[in-house]
């Protein structure tokens, strides 16, 4: 990676294309703030919105003494060897996004974590939305067109304050030989809303993640949506967990998975720990070519008056559905692609239109491959 790359637009046309596939706005016109890290080097961090700061994590820890109380609070330092690896590093990289009380960003903030040549890229990010704040984060995790091997370990801690609203949309665009270990968790206070969306339509060697939402305040809401495709050679071990720890909290986990020969393990867990809580897990898988889709939805109710449910289905495209569209004049290939695109179409309630479009575009980008 040449040293003169300071902004996203300085990257090669091919790499800019890869960033765009991951939902990043290279010109940064429709973004209220931006963070850009190549390997272990932060190239820039800025916010154009009043009341919202985007800082390199090390600088933020120096600037705000109180921030250390958030460091390793949602994600335990000793969780596993990946968190331990990040914790023992001398210099921490990654971003801190702090939205002050009532601050609202109209446009999404974008974070680009770019793996160019490093063997391991690691980051520790913190996102804090104080009372009544609203922020939408889109993170594109991308490896360069020339990057053939490497690993990315990302710890992200979300703190959603009272009546705050945070959406996090993550679009991955790695390559066949890269392994990825996101470790993230959120703590959601009274009336807070946290939406987490994940899209991975491109090949990757291995992804392993199981983000947890802790709903600790009354009326808090968490929703996870993921749309993934596993080509041959990819192993995606994905899960989402919600702990309903306060009355009237609710959680929803929705996933759509397609294997074209790769392995997908789709985990999900909702724990209803107190009364008047609700949760639902829905996972649907489509097997286009022999591979593996292993859905493991778990619901655990600990008290009277928690309502939890799950549904999981794995199958193929039914012949009668394809013929139905063919009888309307579509050839078999178009009919199949139309059905698959429909299968992957997850409309996310409460997500700004701009981000929904970004998700749709990322899904469309892979459509040609079917």
């Amino acid at each position: 990676m040449p040293a003169n790359v300071e902004e996203l637009k300085d990257l090669s046309a091919e790499d800019r294309g890869r960033l765009e596939l991951a939902g990043l706005d290279v010109a940064e016109t429709e973004r209220s703030g931006s963070f850009f890290q190549i390997d272990q080097e932060i190239r820039h961090a800025h916010s154009g919105t009043e009341g919202i700061e985007v800082l390199p994590i090390a600088e933020a820890l120096e600037k705000y003494d109180w921030l250390k109380d958030y460091f390793w609070r949602a994600v335990p330092k000793d969780k596993d060897r990946f968190t331990q690896f990040v914790a023992k590093q001398e210099t921490q990289q990654g971003f801190a996004i702090i939205a002050r009380k009532g601050a609202r960003a109209i446009y999404p903030l974008q974070a680009c974590l770019y793996l160019a040549g490093a063997k391991v890229q690691y980051v520790h990010n913190i996102v804090i939305a104080e009372e009544g704040a609203e922020l939408h984060l889109i993170s594109g995790c991308v490896s360069g067109a020339q990057t053939k091997a490497g690993a990315h370990i990302g710890v992200t801690e979300f703190y959603v304050g009272k009546n705050a609203r945070v959406t996090s949309t993550m679009i991955h665009n790695w390559s066949e030989s890269i392994s990825v270990y996101p470790r993230s968790a959120s703590i959601i206070e009274e009336g807070g809303v946290f939406l987490s969306n994940y899209v991975c339509m491109q090949p990757v060697r291995h992804i392993d993640m199981y983000p947890t939402a802790n709903l600790i305040g009354e009326n808090a809401v968490a929703r996870f949506s993921s749309v993934v495709v596993a080509p041959p050679g990819s192993t995606l071990d994905l899960g989402s967990r919600a702990i309903l720890a306060a009355p009237n909290t609710s959680a929803e986990i929705v996933s759509r998975m397609i294997t074209r020969g790769g392995t997908i393990i789709s985990r999900g867990e909702i724990r209803g720990q107190v009364p008047r809580t609700k949760g639902h897990i829905e996972c649907r898988g489509l097997i286009l070519e022999d591979g593996l889709i292993h859905a493991i939805p778990e619901i655990a109710g600990l008290v009277v008056d928690t309502e939890l449910s799950h549904e999981a289905a794995v199958g193929r495209i039914a012949r009668d559905e394809i013929e139905y569209l063919m009888s309307r004049g579509l050839d078999e290939e178009t009919a199949t692609a139309t059905i698959i695109r429909g299968f992957l179409d997850v409309k996310i309630r409460g997500l700004p239109e701009m981000l929904q479009r970004q998700i749709d575009a990322a899904i469309d980008s892979a459509e040609a491959g079917f």
Binding site: E323, L325, M326, R328, L330, E332, T338, G342, L344
Partner: protein
């Protein structure tokens, strides 16, 4: 428009249609009746070209072209269309999106047609998911109006439809068959399966046929056939050897 000659059809090596002959001219509407399981839907699906129906002999000629072995979508492209009695549900695919994909140059008409059929609220819904009987039929008719076929096959268009919807569907179906056009200018043809004959209140049919055990038993005036079936049932047709 359509000419079927000496057609024999098998499903899983068992012959279910025997020696079917049927000619439908431009602008004509034919009605097909018959007991459950007599092969009416099989005939429609064979004409349309669905998988699982093997033509063992005979041929289907559509507008002068032998389409007996053409794939389904090629027949649709040549102007065949079908209204399903029980169409599949397609999870995730929005009705509006399906219409967009099939409409091509007629896309601009979708909103008006959807409104006419009282389906505008359904464009954002998954195709057929949780639709009532009447909603399914309205969705089917809407899809066909957008597709605009020259030969329409309707598989029990009135089944599962309440009285409120029947006139809406009846009138829209009449439009599919250009019943609003003068007989001389009418070019669209249809083949309709009906059990009740309610659809005949909206569509003047030219010919009626009775299919029993995979064999055409009777041809004639559709109203008269309907009246006879209503009075005597199909037993007379089954016993009837006058062919």
């Amino acid at each position: 428009m359509l000419e079927i000659t000496d057609l024999h059809v098998s499903i899983e090596e068992k012959e279910v249609l025997h020696d079917i002959n049927l000619t439908i001219e431009d602008g004509e509407t034919h009605v097909m009746m018959g007991p459950n399981g007599s092969g009416k839907t099989t005939l429609l699906r064979t004409i349309m070209g669905f998988g699982g129906y093997t033509v063992t002999s005979g041929r289907i000629v559509f507008n002068g072209e032998d389409v007996t072995h053409l794939p389904l979508h090629e027949r649709a492209k040549r102007g065949m269309g079908m209204l399903y009695q029980r169409p599949p549900t397609i999870a995730g695919l929005k009705l509006g999106k399906l219409l967009d994909v099939t409409a091509k140059e007629r896309a601009a008409q979708i909103p008006a047609l959807a409104q006419e059929l009282n389906m505008d609220r359904f464009l954002d819904r998954d195709v057929n998911a949780g639709f009532s009987g009447g909603e399914i039929k309205r969705s089917e008719v809407l899809q066909l109006l957008v597709q605009n076929p020259s030969f329409v096959m309707l598989d029990e268009p009135e089944s599962g439809v309440d009285l409120e919807n029947i006139s809406l569907i009846g009138n829209a179906t009449a439009r599919l068959l250009e019943k609003d056009q003068h007989i001389v200018r009418r070019t669209k043809s249809g083949l309709i399966i009906t059990h009740t004959g309610y659809i005949l209140d909206y569509i003047d049919a030219d010919y009626g046929h009775v299919l029993c055990d995979g064999v055409f038993k009777c041809h004639g005036n559709p109203r008269e056939i309907l009246k006879s079936v209503k009075t005597h049932g199909y037993q007379e047709c089954i016993e009837c050897q006058r062919m």
